[in-house]
């Protein structure tokens, strides 16, 4: 230590961790936060499991991740002991673990039937997600952080030191700063916090694209085959919501399928038009799909070229990254129109047949008729709007989720398989071509549709690994990311919803999807490659309003191309934007999904931080002050007395 700043650095240690943040909905709050306006400080104490937690004084609890659910359950118990327990918890730190416990049981922060209130059928108690704990929806009055690996070791050492001295001061304390603006403003529901400007609605930008590019001002009127996937996930800790299997494996399969289909010629001669839609915000009340349908209904600029009646068939690609037995299940709603829905199933089957010589040999089966209906999926929004919608959801599971880590921090790259995703992508690509050809395409053409497995591998590296993360080659060639490692939590809607989307306010994942789809669905792409000098350079907009600017990065300008790739805002249709800001709109009659919509918002916060240091008890500080004051007072009187004594002495002399 060479200087006073070095001393200060040695005194305070900042920890790395992922916080649980305060969200609000129409009925109240969920998530975690500091209870008031001040930092939460308490000595660190570690317990091995949820049941052994005994607190005699306010503490910062350090628990292994296997104890989180059990401990939160204990707090829920109706008897008096749980509320006194909760009062003693100043903050909760969860240790990083190497996936040792979840191997056995699984862990999901969502409920047993995720978003059951939106299901277009009555059996709301069906257990799609048996490992579901529902802790995502709990309201906690203390901050919770998930620690990084390095910080976990440090904090365990500090907790052990506290134990060794028997919790006698000075003790190692943790200081949490997770003060939320909604707490300070006293607003505890979506409606009040939007009015007081202490929160923002959740949302982002979905992306849709057409292959081949359409003339949006005068559409051909071809029936549309809409292929859907989602790009957002969730977890108890929003900063670590990878969602690799659920739902991004579906998105990867769809993007790889678009890549394969873009190589095919003659798509404009096919009977139907292919449109791809990658939604965001689906984990929070299906706000992406519902807003998309609302935009279609109001015929907005964002969806120019599409209309609700032209959508003939819907194929949703759900979680497909864990289909290790190479079987994919086709889920449909009983009320779906028979003929067009059967055509989708047959297209998928034909695609599977064309792949029987491949290494993966995927199979397609209809889901069990004992299921109450379609699993939690964006298709639910379409079914609510029109129960006869000819739509299916392609999933890796039949009757219950295969993903044991749905909506948790463990749904990462180790939870999916690249070959399985590539196999699903081949299936989807060939099935979509079949559908576009009205199921008339022959096997030879189908077999020529080839998915690039290394593309899937590259995307997995970009989206789910720290290295290379979003600074990978694939992403960097298309856009400049704002950060290296992204979470797939949807985040808040930062712009005015009717404004032209400003890339500055759009999440990296959405921007990547937009640029990828625009690049692949570019009109005359193969032709362009011969005449590379033809495209105009651009940074964000193109002179020709029919063109969009793709692949504009910090290193090189983009190029203007003809592509029907557009952003669609994604936010709850229960919200409207006026000059005064966001407002909760009155509920329309017959809007069942709107009635069930919690309308999530996230509180503003200035900083969220976590640090640890050694602290004395307050009486020690008071003793030191007392000592200082006494010494000063004593010296004061001693000097005065001495002065008097010497003056007397001098007088006498």
């Amino acid at each position: 230590m060479r200087s006073v700043p070095d001393l200060e650095n040695a005194m305070y240690q900042s920890l790395q961790g992922y916080p649980c943040v305060r969200l609000l909905n129409v009925t109240g709050e969920l998530g975690c936060a500091n209870p008031g306006r001040t930092k939460a400080i308490a000595p660190i104490q570690r317990f091995q499991d949820a049941n052994s937690v005994q607190l005699s004084a306010p503490r910062t609890l350090l628990l292994p991740s296997s104890a989180l659910v059990g401990f939160l359950k204990r707090l829920e118990e109706a008897d008096g002991s749980s509320s006194s327990l909760e009062q003693q918890v100043a903050g909760l730190l969860i240790e990083y673990d190497n996936l040792s416990f979840p191997e056995v049981a699984g862990f999901s922060a969502d409920s047993i039937f995720p978003q059951a209130e939106f299901a277009p059928y009555d059996t709301k108690s069906y257990q799609w997600n048996p490992t579901g704990s529902g802790i995502m929806y709990r309201r906690l009055n203390f901050p919770v952080f998930l620690l990084h690996k390095n910080s976990t070791d440090d904090v365990q050492a500090l907790a052990a030191k506290n134990e060794r001295v028997g919790f006698k001061y000075p003790l190692n304390v943790a200081e949490f700063n997770a003060v939320m603006r909604t707490t300070k403003a006293g607003t505890h529901t979506t409606e009040s916090c939007l009015r007081e400007n202490s929160c923002l609605p959740l949302g982002g930008y979905s992306v849709w694209s057409a292959l081949p590019a359409m003339n949006v001002s005068s559409p051909t009127g071809k029936p549309i085959v809409l292929a859907i996937a989602s790009m957002d996930s969730s977890s108890f800790f929003h900063d670590v919501a990878p969602g690799a299997d659920s739902p991004l494996s579906g998105m990867l399969a769809l993007l790889a399928a678009v890549d394969a289909l873009a190589e095919m010629g003659g798509l404009e001669t096919l009977k139907k038009q292919l449109v791809f839609l990658v939604l965001t915000g689906e984990s929070f009340g299906y706000l992406g799909s519902r807003q998309f349908l609302a935009q279609l209904k109001s015929d907005s600029n964002f969806v120019m070229g599409l209309n609700a009646t032209s959508i003939y068939q819907v194929l949703e690609v759900g979680s497909i990254g864990q289909a290790y037995d190479s079987t994919f299940y086709v889920h449909k709603q009983a009320s779906a129109a028979t003929t067009p829905t059967l055509q989708i199933l047959n297209a998928l089957k034909a695609a599977a047949v064309s792949l029987k010589d491949s290494t993966s040999k995927p199979q397609v089966k209809p889901a069990s008729p004992s299921n109450p209906g379609i699993p939690p999926s964006s298709l639910m929004s379409f079914v609510h709007k029109d129960p006869t919608t000819a739509g299916v959801v392609l999933e890796e599971f039949d009757t219950i989720f295969k993903n044991k880590f749905y909506h948790s921090q463990y749904d990462d790259a180790s939870n999916i398989n690249v070959e399985v995703i590539a196999s699903a992508a081949s299936l989807v690509a060939r099935a979509l071509y079949m559908l576009a050809s009205d199921n008339t395409a022959d096997t030879t053409i189908l077999k020529s549709i080839q998915v690039n497995v290394s593309l899937v591998e590259a995307m997995v590296g970009c989206l789910f690994h720290q290295e290379p993360g979003m600074t990978c080659e694939l992403v960097k060639s298309l856009m400049t990311p704002s950060q290296g490692f992204t979470t797939h939590y949807v985040g808040v809607f930062q712009q005015e919803p009717s404004a032209i989307p400003d890339p500055y306010y759009i999440e990296d994942t959405s921007r990547f999807v937009w640029n990828f789809l625009a690049d692949r669905t570019e009109l005359n792409r193969k032709e362009w490659k011969k005449f590379s000098a033809q495209n105009e350079e651009c940074t964000d907009a193109c002179k020709n309003p029919e063109e969009v600017c793709v692949a504009s990065t910090a290193d090189h300008k983009g190029r203007c191309i003809v592509s029907t790739t557009r952003y669609v805002p994604a936010f709850s249709p229960r919200l409207g934007y006026e000059s005064s800001g966001w407002q909760l709109l009155p509920l329309e009659t017959g809007d069942t999904m709107g009635a069930a919509d919690p309308v999530y918002t996230e509180s503003f916060w200035s900083t969220i931080g976590l640090q640890v240091y050694l602290q004395e008890s307050s009486w020690f500080d008071e003793m030191v002050l007392f000592l200082g004051v006494s010494i000063t007072a004593f010296s004061f009187f001693a000097i005065i007395c001495t002065k008097a004594v010497f003056q007397k002495r001098l007088k006498r002399a």
Partner: protein
């Protein structure tokens, strides 16, 4: 540890200096100037030591020994130089007083000037070696070093600051008296005590050493204070030679 603790530490280190300043120094402008001037000289001597030792630091623990010896040596040399300067100033002041028919400097004045000079040294030492170290003490955290688990670092620094403040203040009283009256014992006492106190601080380097090191510094300070007290006691006693000079005690001092 919080503002309460930080204020406490600051008062421990500088409370007596503050009291001394208020009761003795503050009413006499010349003494205030003396405090400032002496503090400045002390800082110059520190700079000289720093320049000398810059090339060798940070070094191994054994370098502390030659470091302390040379630094104490330089500071004592500066004290002698300060005494020479003081003699010139005293001579000049007396001449000036004679010109305007005001009284000359008496013994009590000289003692007060000595206290002010010592206080200047002590305050400069405290501010540099103690007060800057205490700034983190106003935050919520505390700090213990490995070799001293009994007291926070800040408490050790505060007590050491207090000890050296008292030591420097009263050493100057002894030094002025010794150099004026050419008393060899006292002339040796000051540098030797200074050196002893400095070397004894190295006891703090041993594990658990602060339990012994801090009281030892305070004992040195108390001893110095006692010696200075005795000198002043003797000086204000019934010694005939100085009597005449003490007569003007009641009237306001020429300072």
């Amino acid at each position: 540890m919080t503002e309460v603790g930080g204020t406490g530490y600051a008062l421990i280190a500088l409370g007596p200096a503050f009291s001394l300043f208020l009761t003795v120094i503050a009413s006499k402008p010349f003494l205030i100037l003396t405090v400032l001037g002496s503090a400045m000289m002390w800082l110059v001597s520190l700079i000289a030591c720093a320049i000398l030792w810059r090339a060798f630091l940070p070094g191994a623990v054994w370098t502390f020994l030659p470091l302390l010896i040379t630094v104490v040596g330089i500071q004592e040399a500066v004290r002698l130089y300060y005494w020479c300067l003081y003699l010139k100033v005293e001579h000049f002041l007396n001449k000036l007083a004679a010109k305007v028919s005001k009284p000359q400097l008496v013994a009590t004045d000289k003692i007060q000037i000595a206290i002010a000079s010592g206080l200047g040294h002590g305050i400069a030492h405290s501010v540099f070696f103690c007060l800057s170290l205490l700034t983190p003490a106003f935050g919520p955290a505390t700090y213990y070093i490995d070799s001293c688990v009994h007291m926070p670092l800040f408490l050790v620094a505060a007590f050491m600051g207090l000890g050296f403040l008292l030591l420097h203040t009263f050493s100057m009283v002894i030094a002025f008296n010794a150099l004026a009256g050419d008393k060899h014992f006292h002339q040796l006492f000051v540098p030797v005590m200074h050196l002893c106190a400095s070397l004894l601080t190295m006891v703090n380097l041993l594990p658990g050493g602060c339990i012994a090191g801090v009281p030892m510094t305070l004992i040195c300070a108390v001893v110095t204070l006692a010696v200075a007290g005795k000198i002043v006691w003797d000086k204000t006693g019934t010694g005939s030679a100085e009597l005449g000079n003490l007569q003007r005690v009641h009237s306001s001092s020429s300072l």
